[in-house]
């Protein structure tokens, strides 16, 4: 029978150093969480972006619609979308099976103006805010556009629905789309 535990020869030792480290790290966690909420760091990209110039040809060849992602370097929600959707390996692979991804970065604030190609794409997709996502059929005839970002999974679902809609020319509710 094992000896009853007494104070003498006690096996208990409270880990003071570990408690201090845990408390300090918890404080740092909260502080950094608040900081990075406002200054989102960009994670590595997992999507193979296709240059806008060749995207229509790639789309015609593969039969997939084009996904235009309109963003800007200063846009916080764009960074969140980058981290939750385009940096997530699983979601990036799913996205690439659905669409031809094209990134269109607005440089108007930094450089005073955008290239003609960026301007024309923004105009064609009626971009008024960032981020904006546009799923466009390979022939450019049908498109679905949305602005803002909620979360990665919801955005991926929207892209999947929109890819199907522009492919069929009919929304899930039966309404024909242009």
């Amino acid at each position: 029978m094992p000896p009853a535990e007494t104070r003498h020869g006690d096996t208990r030792r409270d880990p003071a150093w570990l408690l201090v480290a845990a408390a300090l790290l918890l404080l740092a966690r909260v502080a950094l969480g608040v900081w990075e909420e406002r200054h989102v760091p960009a994670r590595a990209n997992a999507v193979h972006w296709v240059p806008a110039e060749i995207a229509p040809a790639v789309a015609m060849q593969t039969g997939k619609p084009i996904l235009y992602e309109f963003s800007a370097d200063w846009c916080g929600p764009c960074q969140r979308m980058q981290n939750e959707l385009f940096s997530d390996e699983r979601r990036a692979r799913a996205l690439e099976t659905l669409v031809v991804p094209v990134r269109v970065v607005d440089r108007a604030r930094e450089e005073g103006r955008n290239s003609a190609l960026v301007d024309s794409l923004q105009h064609a997709c009626a971009v008024e805010a960032f981020p904006t996502l546009a799923v466009v059929s390979p022939d450019g005839g049908r498109r679905q556009v949305t602005s803002g970002f909620v979360n990665g999974e919801q955005t991926l679902q929207w892209i999947a629905r929109s890819a199907m809609t522009v492919h069929l020319g009919t929304a899930p509710n039966g309404v024909r789309v242009r």
Binding site: P2, R12, R29, R43, R90
Partner: protein, 235 residues
């Protein structure tokens, strides 16, 4: 830390048929996946799985089988016991990931394909850190529930947090959503170290969160085990 305790723990884990089957299935399918795709992206998640399988019931099974009373009859302090359990499961999980990656690299080279070595280091490092973190979380849960109750706690907590996160998102309760998200990351920690290879910017929050989860879980496990009444009359 006691090497004897660690080795005995790992030997016991690796002779459990159920654990062995789970580890072998995931290990072989992951090696196959890495070899076929030529990519190690997301492989760090395997270390999490290995560590969870190894750590499940780490303390709880000793409590329910009555081994813990005998264990502390030896000159072993309780924190040393918890620390050894945690370290053994974490090291085992990390080691399995490394073997998986080395094997997959070997197969890729045999096929005449060159693995992306720049991708390997961040994945391996993240995997090892995640293995030790997941091991700490499971050891903490194991200190709270006997037998394999830690796994029940783990799955119930995961379900509750996922559900409440979805409801909060739907209702627009951003604070609840964030809380569910943070607690979810305690159960399934994430760490991206691609920035070590010059891809993307580091997220110090993510790194500190993982270390905070690790230290908090270990501290709670040690405090709980320290306060357990282990005399036979206690049950």
């Amino acid at each position: 830390m006691s090497p004897t305790l660690m080795l005995a723990f790992l030997r016991q884990r690796l002779t459990s048929p159920m654990r062995l089957v789970l580890l072998v299935i995931v290990f072989l399918s992951s090696v196959g996946m890495n070899t076929v795709t030529g990519s190690f992206a997301g492989a760090e998640g395997n270390a999490l799985f290995y560590a969870i399988v190894l750590a499940a019931g780490a303390i709880g099974q000793d409590i329910s089988s009555g081994v813990l009373q005998l264990m502390f009859a030896r000159p072993v302090t309780r924190p040393c016991y918890v620390f050894s359990r945690w370290f053994a499961a974490g090291a085992g999980g990390g080691a399995l990931l490394l073997v998986q990656m080395v094997l997959a690299c070997g197969f890729l080279l045999a096929r005449g394909l060159r693995p992306d070595f720049a991708e390997l280091l961040p994945v391996a490092l993240a995997g090892i850190v995640l293995a030790f973190t997941a091991s700490a979380v499971i050891v903490m849960l194991s200190s709270l529930a006997s037998g394999l109750g830690d796994m029940a706690l783990y799955f119930v907590a995961t379900l509750v947090l996922t559900g409440s996160g979805q409801v909060a998102r739907w209702k627009g309760w951003s604070v609840v959503e964030r809380l569910a998200d943070e607690l979810g990351h305690v159960l399934a920690p994430q760490l991206h170290l691609a920035w070590l290879a010059g891809r993307g910017a580091p997220s110090w929050f993510e790194l500190v969160s993982v270390l905070s989860t690790l230290t908090l879980s270990l501290a709670v496990a040690m405090l709980v085990v320290n306060r357990k009444e282990l005399s036979y009359a206690a049950g």
